[in-house]
Amino acid sequence: MSVQDRTDTAATSRPERPARRRRKLGRFVLPTYSWLVIAYLVFPIALMIIYSFNRVVGGLQQVSFSWNGFTTQWYRQWSNVPGLTSSFWLSIRLALVSTLIATVLGTLLAIALVRYRSNKFRGKVAVEQVLFLNIAAPEIVMGASLLGLFVTFNVARGFLTLVLAHVMFSIAYVTVTVRARLSGFDRSLEEAAYDLGANPLTTFRLVTLPLIMPGVLAGALMAFALSIDDFVTSNFVSGTAPPFPVWVYGATRVGIPPQVFVFGTFIFMVGIAFAVMSIVLSRKKS
């Protein structure tokens, strides 16, 4: 408190010009600039949403960026492109399955990393380095090396290989996210549960899990987002049935059906809804 007081008195006696200039920078220049950057970030997305309502002229049902008039046709006919629809459902199934697995495995690993110091957990440093490497390594190398593995061991590419790959690149993110929330965990609550006669499993179910749940959910959301948006790895390890981003990539060569923007808008809206929900929840708690 005394330090705070001292700096406050010092602050009042500081020369005025730099202070005023700083305030001006904060009040006008920086906000304007920041809003411009945000506009730049949002601009392509706004364009995608607007052009999902664009009429198509001519025989081919492809997106074009000349405005031909407003229509909700593509929303009514959202499932008219069979390959696109099935790739979307494949992506959803894939994201759900890989999120479930990656969240469980990543959470267990995070618990091990937070609970045990390296004298009790030999290899902890190695595990941390592998996680770091997994996050930092270029995705194309991971995708290409997975393809090499599957080809070498004659694993047919399909849903299974996609799940294997997606869990692989999600685990590290889940672990890191869960671990960040876990580090403030009060172990004495668990001790209390043991003192009251709960066995380890009951303690985990009734005490540990509810406490770490926000972190686990954040990790799961992260894994889901990573999976549903993954292109690079999926492009290597998917078979004849591609997930959504890979299908869209393939379509860039022959023309993109307008429904792609409908799905894009839908995924965007769901993502924003989740983000807003997490903000509201965190605000309620604090």
Binding site: R115, M142, S183
Partner: protein, 303 residues
Amino acid sequence: MDESVLTDHPRRVTPRRRGGWGKRLAPYLLSLPAGLWLVLLFIVPLAVMLVQSLETCSPATGLCTMTWSWGELPHQVNLYHQQFITSLLFAAAATVIDLVIAFPIAYWIAFYGGHRKNFFLIMLLVPFFVSFVIRTIVWEFILSNNGIVLTFLTRNHLVPSGFHVLGTSYAVVAGLAYNYLPFTALPLYVAIERIDRRVLDAAHDLYANRTSAFRRVILPLAMPGIFAAFLLTFIPAFGDYLNQEILGGVSNTMIGTVIQNSFLVNFDYAGGASLSVVLLAVSLLGIWLYARLLGTSTINEYL
């Protein structure tokens, strides 16, 4: 920060010993499933890739045989060194642009964001809610010859009529810079947010002007964030090929395209694996430098 310090403290309540073996095995049992998954599907594939780079593939039959020759590595590097250089330059350009664009906004959100910090952070993350592929396609439309930007510019005679962006290196760098901007902004924000405002006040009290306060206080304290931003932007941009394939032309191929084509089009697994090994080696150098400067645990704090 405070929380991690707390966990490192000796426990206030000494836990009772429950079960000898179970207790001792617990960390290994907890980390076994994830560890196994990562070893089998992350480490082993990298090893397989290294072995594959020593094979020789016949372009006619697509069959690869083990020849234990290291020749493929220099051979491929020789063939595609230009693409490596292009990738390095594009990734470096995009990273520098992103750092310059992101620093002021990260600074503003951290210092002036107030209660709307979360809102602004979500705004920074907004691109992530749209598929990477779709984002890039939209950029293709934006930059195309009859797209919004160029139509406006040519109509107002701001650029000559034959002017085009799509297919050039500028388009690729623009796409990379857009797609990875959030990866730069977030670590910067985390680092700047941690700077104690009083340190800055102290600098001003000691008659530092804005420039020197920035240079000697903010910049050094934001350095970890800059490194994290570099890692999270440069490495993925270096291996990126989608932006180049959609926005670039034939003259500015990046190494990612070559690797993808080796594996998926030409079925030259030895060649593709060799290039991947080189790409990984170059990336590892950057990662290693990062780890030496900041330690591997810092990545947790910047995600």
